[in-house]
Symmetry: C2
Subunit: 329 residues, 2 copies
Amino acid sequence: MGKRVTINDVARTAGVSRQTVSRALNDKGEIDSSTKQRVLDAARELGYRPSRFARGLVRQDSTTIGLVIPDLLNPFFTEVAHGALEAARARGWHVIVYDTADSTDEERRTIEVVVSQVDAVVGYFSLAEAELDQHLSGMPVVLIGRDHQTPRFSSIHIDGEKGVHEAVDHLVAAGHRRIGMLDHVSRVKPSPSLRRVWFTDAMTGHGLDATVVGHTAQSVDGGAEALTELLAEHPDLTAVFTYNDVVAIGALRAARRLGLVVPKDLAVVGFDGLQLGTVVDPALTSVALDTTRIGALAIEQAGRLLAGDAQLPPEELQVNAVLLVRNSA
Amino acid sequence: MGKRVTINDVARTAGVSRQTVSRALNDKGEIDSSTKQRVLDAARELGYRPSRFARGLVRQDSTTIGLVIPDLLNPFFTEVAHGALEAARARGWHVIVYDTADSTDEERRTIEVVVSQVDAVVGYFSLAEAELDQHLSGMPVVLIGRDHQTPRFSSIHIDGEKGVHEAVDHLVAAGHRRIGMLDHVSRVKPSPSLRRVWFTDAMTGHGLDATVVGHTAQSVDGGAEALTELLAEHPDLTAVFTYNDVVAIGALRAARRLGLVVPKDLAVVGFDGLQLGTVVDPALTSVALDTTRIGALAIEQAGRLLAGDAQLPPEELQVNAVLLVRNSA
DNA sequence: TTGAAAGCGCTACCAT
DNA sequence: ATGGTAGCGCTTTCAA
């Protein structure tokens, strides 16, 4: 650990005071240009770099937000992260990205350290609010895709109801009556997903049977497997709605393996509206979320919490889904 | 901006000195447990959170590394980022991710701020070393996929030669003779890519013509378009090697549109070996890079630079490609 | 077990 | 144009 070069070393070398060094380095006026040059030269020669901490301590600005996501390799979260990064950059804030590897233990470890590293935290959590609150004491927290109970938390609400209804309407209008779903049940909260609830509502609204539901892991392979099983039990299905796009892509593959042509023999509708849906063939029809906006909103809300500003009204903290019709349905 | 709650406020409220507060909060021994509880209660009540800066200033540990990538939405960079995050977490370091939106201007803006935010920087840069050096003065820099000239820089070298040779060998062994390439030429450095050079070498090694090369943008649509054009000019091609997997996926789509069955009518080989290659059908055969290792290596090397430790030998700072045979060739 | 004093590296403010 | 002084919020000696 080489000794750190401080502003004092530079000052001594350049034969000036620290304040003059500070002026030269921060491009303040009120300094002779030859002095400035001498200081800059000395700094360069010594390999001087100002301490972030000392700077941060004295200039109370610099905001850092922690973004916690379950899996950076999942394109959905990448899109959200992209939106958050963009929004943060526009404000001159930093974002530290934490990947909890979809593991509760890793999430625990993350919230334990995050508290000393950032000013506010936004993202996806599976832990109970009590536990989050305990570790994240006093720090603003914005939950994404999960409503908060404790008042000191905040959340970005994802409302897919309208979009899912549009999707079912679309399928029904195309003549589909026997529509199945590939649902995903989280290990943490083992109950039917919200997406399934929306789907059921929409189906019963049309007087259709919404009970044909398979379960799938959140992966391409999982989706392929689940569709194969579902079709084995219900060969009369003409359309399927899936928990998300990744699962839908697996379904697309399985359909092809079974010799079904999408959308003619089987229509497939995903959820999320990822870019990824355009690389498969046929391009995926999906209930689309504005992922960039989700990230941006989370940052915005964190900023307000931090500044003690008025919070966004609930309707602004909500992201609605809309049906994005491409080619698979 | 609500006044910040400091350790002094907690001390006053709890009726102890700051040092005692510090002890309570940092789980040091030498403190009465009732005193400790009183302090903790006061801290919680006031919503106290220690200043990262003050802490960092006094305990000179905490390392933060900046990861600069051109586009978080590109799965290649996401995989690299994933590797970097993982490696950093294992060391207890933080990573701040910067997305330069594939823009030189944005890259300039990034390097201007990055210097005051992190201890070292790793990633993808398009700017000249002189300019990087000027802004990143004194800070360790690890270039990925680009060799360094200046000694104070460091780089992770990507060697795809062996992998590309394997790919061409594989195609030739399958009977292919007329093999084209879809190359990408960067706006910044407009010369044939290294990947093309490797391809040409491999082809001429087999006594084959390596001049059938189309140019493509780095996107699915670009790849589709480029393949269509290339086949229009050279309808006798039986295989194509592409600049990367994203381009290859576009080629896959174009081939299907043209009524060609992959790999029977046209074999397609990508480059990168992304996970993404498994979601398309047929799954993409590709010259694969260990993206996780790239990210991890960059972090490792940055750490050594920071600590003044012995640098990794050049052969360790290199990532080799290998042919990953899936279904498209 | 607790407290007083010093100081981490820097910038802001007020002198000169 | 330059320097002196104070102080950001915290932890780390060292005394008591």
